[in-house]
Symmetry: C2
Subunit: 376 residues, 2 copies
């Protein structure tokens, strides 16, 4: 139940177990083109997709270095570790960064974003971390940002590393220019492949203004793909096979079904864990459907709690990040998450708390979770 890397189905793991092929061969073209086309389906875009051999941070860095030039004005909501990192990357790229800072656990409202656009008519781009994994918050107005970026055709970039595939993202319809994710989150593939999608006008801009970097040089990827459907650098072949199989599973389940499953499970987790006496860290209107951050009860020690949960029940949850270390723990609700994961997690957390001397109502938690899960 980690917020990534998540459990990987045996079918996806098995897909890695094929002989290493030549990455300059027809076998590779068949594999990579399939990865690209299926990635585009999950992102709901007709644009370009590049599957980078890196962690999600690599794809996010690619979204920065290929678009931002010295002096560009950028708006970004900042409320946790990953949005701070993205903001840092933007500054390194030379951007003048307008940070819409909120407390961890809260999101900048759409009105705040609108105000920033009102006050900065020369903005080049809006960047956001859709799901802030460090605090369990999620921006829920991605469909509305286009109204602001369309004013001056500024760029709209979504870091969706921990959430794409688990929540709804309509890249083309919502006017998103660049979006990224990582394979090890809601895609339920092993870590190491990070897709980035780029629409036509942004691709054109990148090709006309190529970045001074090599490994994340997207124009180079576009060129190789156009010429031969190859990648410029040797890709992580076994992981691409696994990634393709994970995409197959997503498309077989159906995107709508998958998103509904994620939402139902997280609703059950929030309700069930609240009923046993825990409180979510994030404000209600900002809560993520794929990462549930919970406040520790008074006196509950992080390491003891998570070790007990892991050793006695084999349920793994993550601790807090940075300042939140020891104050919250985080439950992933992504990828393969099913009814039994939810029930087992609530039951195991309740039992662990009970063993540590807390008075918790396990029954109430399981009852409400079952109700929420009834349509799954």
């Amino acid at each position: 139940m980690l917020p990534g890397p998540t459990n990987v189905p045996a079918r996806v793991m098995r897909a890695m177990h094929v002989p290493i092929i030549n990455h300059r061969s027809d076998d590779f073209v068949e594999l990579y083109e399939d990865c690209v086309e299926k990635t585009k389906k999950v992102f709901m875009t007709e644009g370009e997709a590049v599957c980078l051999s890196s962690s999600g941070t690599g794809a996010v860095e690619a979204s920065v270095v290929n678009l931002i030039k010295k002096g560009d004005k950028v708006i970004i909501p900042v409320n946790g570790e990953f949005s701070s990192r993205l903001s840092q990357m933007l500054e390194w790229a030379g951007a003048s960064v307008i940070k819409l800072e909120t407390q961890p656990g809260e999101n900048a409202s759409f009105e705040t974003v609108k105000e920033a656009f009102d006050n900065n008519k020369d903005v080049k781009a809006f960047y956001c971390v859709w799901n802030e994994t460090s605090t369990g918050t999620m921006i829920n107005y991605l469909d509305k940002v286009k109204d602001l970026t369309s004013r001056n055709d500024s760029y709209y970039v979504v870091d969706g590393v921990s959430i794409v595939g688990g929540e709804e993202l309509k890249v083309d319809k919502w006017g998103i220019d660049i979006a990224t994710t990582g394979s090890q989150k809601a895609f339920a593939a092993p870590p190491g492949i990070s897709p980035i999608v780029v629409n036509e006008r942004t691709k054109k801009y990148m090709i006309e203004n190529p970045p001074h970097t090599m490994y994340f040089n997207l124009p180079r990827y576009f060129k190789y793909y156009e010429e031969s459907k190859h990648t410029p650098f040797t890709p992580a072949l076994p992981l691409l096979y696994a990634y393709r199989e994970a995409l197959n599973m997503i498309l077989e389940e159906g995107l709508d079904n998958r998103i509904k499953r994620h939402r139902t499970c997280s609703d059950a987790l929030y309700s069930g864990l609240s009923a046993i006496g825990l409180t979510p860290f994030a404000k209600e209107d900002s809560r993520s459907t794929v990462v549930i951050a919970l406040n520790y009860l008074e006196g509950l020690e992080d390491k003891t709690f998570r070790d007990t949960l892991a050793q006695k029940f084999r349920v793994l949850v993550a601790g807090g990040f940075g300042n939140l270390k020891g104050k919250v723990f985080r439950v992933g609700c992504m990828g393969e998450v099913q009814r039994y994961h939810v029930m087992r997690t609530i039951s195991s957390i309740a039992s662990t708390l009970d063993m540590m001397g807390y008075d918790v109502d396990a029954k109430a938690g399981l009852k409400i979770a079952e109700e929420k899960l009834k349509d799954l």
Copy 2:
């Protein structure tokens, strides 16, 4: 017989097939520390090692962006695709690059390098591509460069992507400050992990002058490793397991034995393929022991030759790169290469040439190869 990715032993492939672990756990520390320590053994260094989740190009880019600042003077021999790329990365980082250019197939001599040092007493670093995979050349004076860099304590950086583990590299003894490789070459692991080793003084410089990049930010890797033996970003876990197993196999065989095996096999390949009538592309004093580039015979068409060899004999070799496309083909002699690979390759190439109407002396090729291989 590709010059990477190379065949991966079943034992290494099987190592990937374990459940995905938490990269913030003791299980990960055990895995990653093992990878780091064994990497250091193969590079013969007491310095730091970082195992990046990227292709070799990523590690090479890390060697540039973490060391080179605007205006730094750098000397680099350039004679092919990969040294041109490295030179390009140095320029992007703002370096004033002194290129020692030679024809493809030839290396800048040590005297030329010495002269460049004589004429540039303020040089900050010497970079080189040890093995130029695109042309089958190898620099054979790595042990002597220290005499030049030690004059003003300039940095000595070796891109060993396609060769480390297959040829001798004494990082500490030879005064090398940074060295890199890729997992999919002489290590015989799947592609996707690229180690970089950095000695103490260079690490200190990097920490005091951190780069403005995220994914290849080595000070960040040093900090995470020092604090918790973690990596800053989610690593490609299955590939790390495979990489570790490949390191185990290298150390079980013994570095000396492994290098001897590579040298013996390449000697047999050069002799055998020459005896059947082919000529190596690289000048004799510059020839690589891990990538053998051969000139096509008059009228021999690249695609037809390689397709026939692949389809009838299941022997895969690579074509030429850039300007050399259609003019040379390249045989990898790295990783798992053994007696039978050499014999089968010579025999299959001779038979293919025969089928395509060329008069070749297969027997002569196999006879001399067998002689060369007798001590293996």
